[in-house]
Symmetry: D2
Subunit: 277 residues, 4 copies
Amino acid sequence: MEELSVSSALKLVVRGTRQDTVINIGDVKVGGNKIVVIAGPCTVEGREQLLETAHSVKNSGASMLRGGAFKPRTLPYSFQGLGEEGLKLLAEAREETGLPIVTEVMSPQDVKTIEKYADVLQIGARNMQNFSLLKDVGKIEKPILLKRGLSAIINEWMGSAEYILNGGNNNVILCERGIRSFNRLTRFTLDIASVPIIKKVSHLPIIVDPSHAMGRRDLVIPMAKAAIAAGADGLIVEVHSEPEKALCDGPQQLRLNDFRRLMEELDTVANAIGRSL
Amino acid sequence: MEELSVSSALKLVVRGTRQDTVINIGDVKVGGNKIVVIAGPCTVEGREQLLETAHSVKNSGASMLRGGAFKPRTLPYSFQGLGEEGLKLLAEAREETGLPIVTEVMSPQDVKTIEKYADVLQIGARNMQNFSLLKDVGKIEKPILLKRGLSAIINEWMGSAEYILNGGNNNVILCERGIRSFNRLTRFTLDIASVPIIKKVSHLPIIVDPSHAMGRRDLVIPMAKAAIAAGADGLIVEVHSEPEKALCDGPQQLRLNDFRRLMEELDTVANAIGRSL
Amino acid sequence: MEELSVSSALKLVVRGTRQDTVINIGDVKVGGNKIVVIAGPCTVEGREQLLETAHSVKNSGASMLRGGAFKPRTLPYSFQGLGEEGLKLLAEAREETGLPIVTEVMSPQDVKTIEKYADVLQIGARNMQNFSLLKDVGKIEKPILLKRGLSAIINEWMGSAEYILNGGNNNVILCERGIRSFNRLTRFTLDIASVPIIKKVSHLPIIVDPSHAMGRRDLVIPMAKAAIAAGADGLIVEVHSEPEKALCDGPQQLRLNDFRRLMEELDTVANAIGRSL
Amino acid sequence: MEELSVSSALKLVVRGTRQDTVINIGDVKVGGNKIVVIAGPCTVEGREQLLETAHSVKNSGASMLRGGAFKPRTLPYSFQGLGEEGLKLLAEAREETGLPIVTEVMSPQDVKTIEKYADVLQIGARNMQNFSLLKDVGKIEKPILLKRGLSAIINEWMGSAEYILNGGNNNVILCERGIRSFNRLTRFTLDIASVPIIKKVSHLPIIVDPSHAMGRRDLVIPMAKAAIAAGADGLIVEVHSEPEKALCDGPQQLRLNDFRRLMEELDTVANAIGRSL
């Protein structure tokens, strides 16, 4: 087993003396005692879809709203997201619900635009080692949600966090979203052990994305509970008002009532480990 | 994503009508509402070590005692276990504590001997597709703990269970113990998603081994909680009275007081999902 | 990167002074300058199929005949091979063609029977760490073809060879047959780098099985050439007189004329690296 | 096994009617009968190091010169390359040797600058799904060397090529550079099967990078031969005049005389499959 490099994303001494980082996003605190749940559709597809979903997840207890406006797609012919139009709809949803907004940035050129609208900028798994993008989001003040790469080891993930911290932006939220393996019944393998490992080696908060990891709705709730029981500071979950009509990743998006059930069941698990939703 | 083969290890209809199997081992029920915790040393090394550990895990609330008498080792020069002498010590520990015994069988030639002493026979990960051994344990009546192979897909694991069921032994307990991946800070990657997947597709109970998966003591408790939160029917955990002196796998074995803490913390997680320890 | 354990399967000094092992099977030498090609059907299905295939591969230049009589199958309901009847057919094919026979042994109970008929006993990938079987084939004199486990690291593979050598049988042929990865267009990922690694660290000969690694006929020839160019001492290739009618692994078995083409194209590659077919 | 998406990177009909693409870079043709070998240091470190290496690889028969000026590094504190100063040195080396230059582009902001100096722009493995960068290099005319991502499936790699082709740049050279696996004696696992797979499904040329895949000098030559035997159109190999003093990846860089030997040994392998160096 490998040693981790020294970096400012690490606790000063492993099993560490450095205090854990708590990130403030409006009234929401990521990394404190309260579990944070970010919910919303994979992609912003239209006004009605977004607002219906936003109101519903808010009522079920979500702390933030997620939604993709710029989408990383395997093929250039796939729907690439609504772009700035999608960002405006997200801002409207925030206006209506009070939920802070999390959305992905894919390119240095888009940082300024997305920064105007979003409360948290997400770096997707495929860009975890897009160092030029990491440097650019290191220069802004808004918090960054840094997803783990599809086959990144912990050392590399910490290195990517370091690029952002080193630029002056201390607000980095890590996100485990599943790794590539030989498994075939799920899209990825959720590596929940990364949660207690990060808690040991780093002062940064870590959340878990069971939706992308599983790629199927029916496994999201048990894996969400597992993540919280292992010590994660929160979750990011895909929820859609009509997943059957989703333009992207329909099979993994929870229905509105699935999400309500998730929040109810999660509450007792959070309490069991001395935290709250 | 791949379809599962039809087999008697599967629920008759997926999301299934077949009732979940509950396996009785003395007073212990595996697969019922109560979470089962199997604890004990990696290897039976001597009388004192075993009895001290057995009494301690019993007092902390363990339901069964584990301990290796026949050990699968990468090199022929490594300590191979005490053999039948180890089985006798396990039987003595059962006598003293009342805990049923789980121990590994590695060869068709040993089935009869081990059956005489053990309450549950374990098939290790490296023998998951030792079909000749699977056929032989399918002919006995004692329950079988079937570990998932290091890189087995669910379909293959179900196929191996099928060999045992097909021989007439319906008492199969599945055990997720981590899979091979590129991760380097842990020995294996604990694939907790296999728990809800098995719960969906099979009527067999499933437990989790966080000790072998992690290979390091400090991650065992959070991963144990995660496994239970995800719906596992129990755990198998390595506990040693003096891990520093262990002949095998010292770094992953919990100390006696670590195990007590595990049981205390697990209790609230079990309650949170409507189960008990 | 990890250190290899000291073992008698290793060269005495890495980059080593110990002479490479050459194994004699009748007139065939494995590990010498001549490339050895073992060919034949996945499974012995009947007299006509076997003899037609055996004569054809002999004419195309194969050095040995392979064929499964005892078959490891994921499900107990799949065709398990003809057993001793299959061994007798293999012996008849040897009688007719002069080709030595390679066939798999899956169980300690079968070692004696298979030893009577076979010239080389194969330990399959799923039994690479079936230590009880390894010990038993270590006591016989016939050469052992030891396939690499589906997710075995080099250290573990060497350890398994060590069990056989340690029993007194020095005739071990290693066989790389592909490892588990996230790839989906092939059954396994052929890890050709294991060939030069084994050549550096061990004195044992190594051959490659492109048929099981790829799981598809159309990639067998290029991967066979790659293996030889990387320094492999030979190949084991599945060939069937009518792959469409095969009871097992039809899509990966070469047709008789494919195999003839393989041998022709391989000849120039072997010459290019100073070896011959 | 999964179906590939329809795309212009694919042959029109699989086993295809579309003619293979040959890319012209000065006098060098990639994808024709002649094997192309790109050689040079991991990183441009200084004038003397680069020119000495460039002249030497030219004399040994290299077709193009590689060298990193903008380097993707896990940590921000590691040497990040000489930037435009490195590009100028590369241009000087081209002036002196006549070898076309291949160098990496990591950011949309740098495309214009690098385009001025380089003959081929490389997209590194970590940027294979940096879609914004792919779109930008799709708008230029210079050929693009597209490395496969560390855990990319073929479908995703083809999708990334598609982004470039779809932008109007038809000059895409694919490069297999090893994938993540559980192996520990090499940095990555060279997936040579991707060569014949790409040859079947795509009209684009494919080369192989054994240096990054292995991470150790002593395996580069056998893996280079294997790649050519499997049908690769060329190689990209790291060569350094004094690897012990290299600022990056020293252990995997060939010495100047190693490279001469590689070229000599490769020549006969190329001839064996009807191609030339």
